[in-house]
């Protein structure tokens, strides 16, 4: 390939610019982590499930929260009606977190929490839970998603406007650098950007642009880049276009390494590494002939493995219909095990390197991303581009374009617009959600408000308000609020009074 400098552009696996992978031995040393994400019901239900998983040898837990927790509403808030404990666990205060991890040694496990706008509060609940067990902050490890920029861009679970949100994030970065060194502070996510309808190039470019914005914000807040950059990780989608996806991961590593070293002056080689988790594309699954989804997911998973992912979640075939059944979840996990143990693809490190097509595609992805970085720069950076609706419009347009291509059959979706089964009946399994969960949770918050020291609660919330209005790090006071059992909703409410609430303008 013309102008391809092997050392400059590819390098060896585990060496700059890491196009071929972040570790020298990759899967020959150790497979990727097979991490399946789940969560449901009350803290008590989930706790039982965790004990079961830990007894069976799992060492990492992954928490999915319900929508009210994600949006910062307590379970007894009117906006929470009908949504408590639905698509994840309901956590209102430190009390719920204590129940959630009852009997679990937080020094021995790591916990991944999919939480963004209220990440600082859930992290505080977690740290205080450990504190109550006598576990030091520096002994606890885990991940919070904490990627607010992609919320404005795609996932839309925001609370505050962008600027105060970025301040909360830099407060977390600074606090964890000093006190919780084993914590992964941001999982910079392209997954949701892709699910919202973006192209592969947009996913790559927008996610990395978000990453740069966090690094710049950290540096601007006076934190040494090498103290927080090794704690940043990424989360990508694995969609259907096999080689394009592989090229996307390879380009991502190369862009990140160069930018971190050359532009942000990171000296620690671990700051240069783009480590990432991958989930197969939920939006590519079809309700029609759902068994076909097993095949789709398998190819997507293979692309992530060939692209050098550090961990992987494979979707279940029935996820477009309802929450997955046990059997479907098992097949999804087996898909990964099959790739690891039977196909032999893990025996070779970056087996596609040097292929003309792969290297050209990787460069093409890189160039498309650079083009987007220029546009974002011109608009005044990521936050300005969000305020102008740049990402939202780009993604909306791509999603509509995709839909039209499917409807006009320019794009074939097997079982949907071609190769249909006539008279196929979609059997949608009924997901029974016990309303009792919501009632119990509401009652629990009510009781908590009665039992705790409400004078102390009022004092700490007042202190929170003052701190939010000033320049000091928010984390210590949020921890104090957590310790005296302020609820998530109360803490959020105080912050809303200072920071305001975000409202997205209509972008089409």
């Amino acid at each position: 390939m013309a102008n391809l400098d092997y050392l400059e552009d590819l390098g060896f696996p585990g060496e700059f610019p890491f196009t071929r992978g972040v570790y020298p031995t990759m899967y020959r040393g150790r497979f990727w982590t097979m991490r399946q994400f789940s969560g449901f019901g009350t803290a008590r239900d989930t706790n039982k499930r965790y004990h079961f998983l830990l007894d069976h040898g799992q060492t990492g837990l992954s928490v999915a929260f319900d929508m009210p927790t994600i949006m910062g509403y307590d379970s007894d808030h009117e906006r929470s009606e009908g949504e408590v404990g639905r698509c994840g666990v309901a956590i209102d205060s430190l009390r719920d977190m204590e129940i959630h991890f009852d009997g679990i040694d937080l020094a021995k496990i790591t916990t991944s929490m999919t939480i963004n706008a209220p990440a600082s509060i859930l992290l505080a609940f977690y740290l205080c839970t450990g504190e109550g067990k006598g576990t030091g902050f520096d002994q606890m490890g885990g991940t919070i998603q904490n990627d607010i920029l992609k919320e404005y861009i795609a996932q839309k679970s925001w609370i505050f406007p962008p600027e105060p949100s970025m301040r909360i994030i830099t407060d977390i970065l600074a606090f964890c650098s000093d006190h919780v060194p084993r914590w992964n502070t941001i999982s910079i996510s392209g997954y949701h950007i892709r699910e919202a309808g973006s192209t592969a190039a947009q996913e790559l470019a927008f996610t990395l642009a978000d990453g740069f914005a966090y690094v710049e914000a950290g540096i601007a807040a006076g934190i040494d880049v090498d103290t927080f950059a090794p704690r940043l990780s990424f989360f990508f989608n694995a969609h259907l276009d096999f080689f394009e996806e592989i090229a996307k991961y390879r380009a991502a590593r190369r862009i990140w390494a160069k930018r971190m070293r050359d532009m942000y002056g990171a000296k620690d080689p671990s700051s240069w590494l783009l480590r990432f988790h991958t989930q197969t594309a939920g939006c590519s699954l079809t309700a029609q002939q759902p068994e076909n989804n097993i095949v789709r997911t398998a190819y997507q998973a293979l692309s992530a493995v060939l692209g050098g992912t550090q961990s992987l979640h494979t979707n279940s075939m029935d996820e477009t219909l309802a929450l997955p059944s046990e059997k479907a979840v098992r097949i999804a996990l087996r898909t990964q095990q099959l790739i690891a143990h039977e196909t032999g693809v893990a025996n070779t490190i970056d087996p596609l390197a040097g292929s003309y097509f792969i290297e050209a595609k990787t460069r093409e992805m890189e160039e498309k991303a650079q083009e987007y970085f220029r546009k974002i720069e011109e608009l005044g950076g990521v936050i300005k581009a969000i305020e102008k609706g740049f990402f939202q419009k780009e993604i909306g347009r791509a999603a509509y374009e995709y839909q039209k291509a499917v409807e006009e059959r320019r794009k074939v979706i097997v079982g949907v617009n071609r190769f249909k089964l006539e008279g196929e009946k979609l059997e949608i399994p009924i997901l029974k959600i016990d309303h009792q969960v919501e009632l119990d949770q509401r009652e629990a918050v009510r009781k908590l408000r009665e039992e705790r020291d409400n004078d102390k609660v009022a004092r700490e919330l007042e202190r929170l308000k003052e701190t939010a209005a000033g320049p000091d790090n928010l984390m210590p006071v949020i921890l104090d609020c957590a310790r005296c059992y302020c609820t998530e909703g109360e803490i959020i409410q105080v912050l809303k009074e200072v920071f305001g609430e975000y409202q997205e303008p209509p972008f089409f």
Binding site: E151, S157, G197, A322, I428
Partner: protein, 134 residues
């Protein structure tokens, strides 16, 4: 000038998955309809009030959170209370057959499942509006 079909597209509930709602809104606009888009995090009360003030012919809701059995009936009830039960309600999302039957009995006109062609939605709206404007 003549009559234009007016449709309200809204996304109730706390989740932010508005891809489907936006795609449908775009498709209806391109089919010549006037689409009032009220976006995310809508309560049935907000939807009813907007639909009434905007005098829409149809309300389209996108529900993915599983809250369809609370959202749709509440909206039907609110419209009836305010003398606006002529407004048709359609929806999209992941909804089991059993619930579809129940919701259609309660007065929801039509529910569209995953993989629906937007042209089917357009045709359904045109037809139901032609029936009511006699």
């Amino acid at each position: 000038m003549g009559k234009k079909i007016r449709v309200l597209v809204a996304k109730p509930g706390l989740d932010g998955h508005d891809r489907g709602a936006k795609v449908v809104a775009n498709a209806l606009r391109d089919a010549g309809m006037e689409v009032v888009y009220t976006g995310l995090h809508q309560t049935p009360e907000m939807i009813a009030e907007s639909a009434i003030q905007e005098d829409v012919d149809v309300i389209g809701l996108s529900i993915l959170s599983g809250a369809h059995l609370t959202m749709f009936p509440r909206l039907v009830e609110l419209l009836a209370e305010r003398g606006a039960d002529h407004i048709k309600i359609i929806g999209g999302g992941i909804i089991p057959d059993e619930d579809i039957a129940r919701l259609e009995e309660m007065g929801v006109s039509r529910l569209f499942g995953p993989g629906t062609d937007t042209r089917d939605i357009i045709e359904f709206i045109r037809k139901s509006c032609a029936d009511s404007v006699s």
